[in-house]
Amino acid sequence: MSAARQLSLEVNGKRHNLQLDIRTTLLDALREHADLPGTKKGCDQGQCGACTVHVDGERVLSCLTLAAQVEGRQVTTIEGLQTADGVMHAVQTAFIEHDAFQCGYCTPGQIMSAIACIREGHAGTDDDIREYMSGNICRCGAYPHIVAAVRDAASRLKTERAL
């Protein structure tokens, strides 16, 4: 075993002081040590997108990130989207309204990715959404509904910003 190291991670605005083997990925740190199992482990090889989280506001894969690498950075997971009074993020609402999942395992990653996709300005057309959401695999094949949800959320967020 590598020596355990004291790491301080900031996740969803809350500080977690964790004693971790240096080999621990951000994904395992979240799920196994920070009591945040919303982020899912699919392939654990950077090929499926189920483990997508935001680091300093950008979408990344937590399975190919060492927990040590995000010290001093802001991590956001699916658990951090809801407001304090329980209001869901517009993308979460859109996924429910459009039935954009079947088994739901890839959904947290899809939602984290979709929020970034919209913020990056890559949700203007269905082709754009398909291209810039391609890093999130859905084995149930809910893709048409996922595209619809992202498109709808993008236009709602645009309207909200305009108001």
């Binding site: 075993m1 590598s2 190291r5 240096i22 080999r23 990925t25 654990d44 090889q45 950077g46 997108g49 997508t52 950008e58 979408r59 990344v60 894969l61 190919l64 990130t65 060492l66 040590a68 690498q69 990715s113 970034a116 996709c117 990056e120 890559h122 398909r130 291209e131 810039y132 959401m133 391609s134 890093g135 999130n136």
Partner: protein, 330 residues
């Protein structure tokens, strides 16, 4: 995963000094390194995290060159307005690679060091024989499932493909890799990738402790009129079945080719420049039949291992289509 010591480098000099020690690897985006560490292909004793080094993530487009820092993220370079204007092929080869998440993580320096996706190389548990992993142990791919293996630049020791996209465009446009160790030096990108020959475990001419600090691409008219065509098994988030980085410059008459650059990816053991095809096109009139005739020579010397024969048929079509796109021939 083998246990390792993790160090966070405070400056470039310290990182280089640390990396000169045995069994040490630089960690940037982690895409290749952590993936291969999980698979027990990479087994460093020490990992030097260079992601917090300052001043290595800049992107500069000057009158003569484009200079990109080694720690610039793929997504930032792909989206950079100056790069897109001066060098469409660089932007296109980046955003057609990997996924949005991986492009946010992956650094340009790490991208150059991306290792092969050969399934036998990646699976030491099942296949002990891999000349890249264990020199002299043989090659499981040559007699194995080799649909995604190289047809150009191969040897009887290794047929593993260089899988990247960005380096293909760099090779087409004569980039230099800027390296710092005990001295600073620049390596022409074509020499930065070694042919497997009998030593497939040697992939780059880097010495221990040398660090990629950036790349420099000379600007040209052909670079401004350039394109990256990537053909693959699915529409996105997939390695190339065959790809072409091309650029063209026309004479004042608008019909005669003055300069043309072509390199192909997804088919060779290194990013593969097609100098003979380029030479055969210079001074010729730009039309479809000329392009198709010249592109036929793209696979000269190609060798099939069985399942990958389709690549030999595919490459000339990809080269011709990419050139027709930059040449505005529909």
């Amino acid at each position: 995963m083998r246990p390792f010591d993790y160090l966070r480098a405070q400056d470039t000099a310290a990182a280089i000094a640390e990396a000169g020690k045995p069994e040490t690897k630089f960690l940037a985006g982690g895409i290749t390194l952590l993936d291969l560490m999980k698979l027990n292909v990479e087994r460093p004793a020490r990992v030097v995290d260079i992601t917090r080094l300052s001043g290595l993530d800049t992107i500069e487009v000057s009158a003569d060159v484009i200079r990109i820092g080694a720690l610039a993220k793929m997504s930032k370079v792909a989206d950079h307005a100056g790069v897109r204007e001066a060098a469409p092929v660089l932007s296109e080869s980046l955003w057609r690679a990997a996924s949005a998440q991986l492009r946010n993580m992956a650094s340009i320096g790490g991208n150059l060091m991306q290792r092969t996706r050969c399934t036998y190389f990646r699976d030491p548990g099942a296949y002990s024989n891999c000349n890249k992993r264990n020199p002299g142990s043989g090659c499981a791919a040559i007699e194995g499932i080799n649909r995604n293996h190289a047809v150009l630049g191969t040897s009887d020791a290794c047929i593993a493909i260089y899988p990247g996209d960005f380096a293909v465009s760099l090779v087409a446009f004569d980039a230099d890799v800027l390296v710092r160790g005990t001295v600073a030096r620049r390596i022409p990108i074509d020499e930065f990738y070694l042919l497997p020959g009998q030593t497939p475990h040697l992939e780059h001419p880097l010495s221990p402790g040398e660090m990629i600090v950036g790349i420099e691409i000379p600007r040209s008219a052909a670079l401004k009129r350039s394109h990256y065509l990537k053909v693959r098994d699915r529409a996105s988030y997939e390695f190339a079945a065959a790809s072409a980085a091309v650029g063209i410059e026309m004479e004042a008459d608008g019909r005669t080719i003055r300069d043309v650059r072509i390199a192909v990816g997804g088919v060779a053991t290194k990013p593969w420049r097609l100098r003979a095809v380029e030479a055969s096109l210079k001074g010729k009139t730009l039309d479809e039949s000329t392009l198709r005739a010249a592109a036929a020579a793209a696979v000269e010397g190609a060798k099939s291992s069985g399942h990958n024969a389709f690549k030999i048929a595919l490459v000339p079509k990809v080269v011709a289509r990419a050139l027709m796109t930059v040449g505005d021939i529909s």
